[in-house]
Amino acid sequence: MKKITTILTATILASAIGAGAQAESHVDKAVAGAIAARQATMKLYAFNLGLLGGMAKGEVAYDAAAASGAANNIALLTQLNQMAMWPEGSDEMSVDGTRALSDIWSNMADVMAKGTALSDAAATMQAEAGKGLPELQAAMGAVGGACGACHKAYRAPEK
């Protein structure tokens, strides 16, 4: 009899732990997905900026159509609705695999203002990139400044 009780208790305990683990992994999955999505967005930025940067540095010949195309993509990226990509609890203190500081969630108005600054700079680059190399170079500086403003305030240093 005692044996049965023990087995029962063990089973209940095990299933409770299992349920807990399952709930946890469910949360982890949602957060991990959000982090993967925002990092994918960053990769799209980097890819298109790389096309423009190659021209700005003089490593690749300036091509107005290619420059306009990449600048268009960047401007479009700034228009993505990212609300679902930044769930609470997806900061660097809560989970691995991100450098997002928790300050993001306590300073949302400032984050949004910095986001607007980026979309403004990207819109200028969209208009300027096809005009010529000096115009592209000038626009790169402003976009870089807008990227850096947010990274400076809200991204933890590399470990």
Partner: protein, 292 residues
């Protein structure tokens, strides 16, 4: 006999004390060096950006501005305590509005305050000591044009024994040198000036010994971040394989060769460097590439 030995011993102690006192005395510039110099505020603005003054001397929440308010207030945690950048706006009471160009030169070239006290080397006079007197005169003229702020400077939070200012004279004897750190080819000379005299890259990118003295033998080879988080990278060509064009782009837009962007303190540095003439950014890149 015993009395004689005691007398000699006392004399020795006194002499050692006197020598230590003299050796640790704050040094000052030769006033004559600056007598004939007229400051050019427009060029002073470039010196200001190259030396990165705004990064430390503006308030932490200050908005970027072409006429920054140098009210001070940024804090710098370290192994020795927390340092706070003072108000260097032209306010007469709280800033440096009452200073002469000689006061600024003493501060930058010798780490000596107008009252004759040693400054802590959180203020990178260990770099600025190599600055050209004309650049200091120009910077002085530029600083005068900025808006005054009546915000009082905050005291440093430094415990014993590091709070004995006179002891900094000993620190300077051991670790403070005003000669160039690297030999430079003629092409790298401007870049060397920008890095070793104004830009103070070495203050973060060079490791320090236990007493905070820079390890010049490992110049720009990276160091732990004094904030405790992360590491400040090695930027010598032995480790950093960026091309000169990569470096110039980084100094201009903040984009790395992977099109990540500068973060942390470097974002601030890029904001300053991006205001320099492109030739100066190229000069810094050439200098870095010339390092071993």
């Amino acid at each position: 006999m015993r009395g004689k030995i005691l007398n000699i011993a006392i004399m020795l102690v006194l002499l050692t004390g006197a020598a230590a006192y003299l050796l640790t005395a704050p040094k000052r510039v030769d006033v004559a060096t600056f007598a004939g110099l007229t400051g050019d505020a427009a060029h002073g603005a470039q010196v200001f950006n190259a030396a990165g003054c705004a990064s430390c001397h503006t308030a932490p929440d200050a908005q970027r501005s072409d006429r920054p308010i140098l009210s001070g207030g940024r804090t710098f945690p370290s192994d020795f305590g927390t340092f706070r950048a003072p108000n260097i706006s032209p306010d007469l009471a709280e800033g440096i509005g009452a200073w002469s160009v000689i006061d600024l030169a003493n501060a930058m070239m010798h780490g000596t305050s107008p009252e004759g006290q040693h400054y802590y080397p959180a203020f990178p006079y260990t770099t600025y000591t190599r600055a050209a007197p004309q650049d200091i005169a120009d910077l002085f003229a530029y600083l005068k044009t900025l808006p005054p702020s009546a915000t009082p400077s905050q005291p440093h939070d430094v415990g014993f024994p590091f709070n004995i200012r006179r002891a900094l004279g000993g620190w300077k004897l051991l670790f403070f040198r005003d000669t160039w750190i690297t030999p430079a080819t003629p092409e790298a000379e401007r870049g060397r000036y920008l890095v070793e005299a104004l830009g103070h890259c070495g203050e973060c990118h060079t490791p320090r010994n236990a007493l905070g003295g820079l390890d010049y033998a490992n110049w720009l080879t990276g160091a732990p971040n004094p904030s405790g988080k992360g590491k400040i990278p090695n930027i010598t060509p032995a480790v950093l394989d960026w091309s000169e064009a990569d470096l110039v782009e980084y100094f201009t837009s903040g984009f790395t060769p992977d099109y990540d962007s500068a973060g942390g303190e470097m974002a601030e540095v890029v904001q300053n460097l991006s205001k320099l003439p492109v030739e100066d950014r190229q000069a810094i890149a050439a200098y870095l590439k010339s390092l071993p």
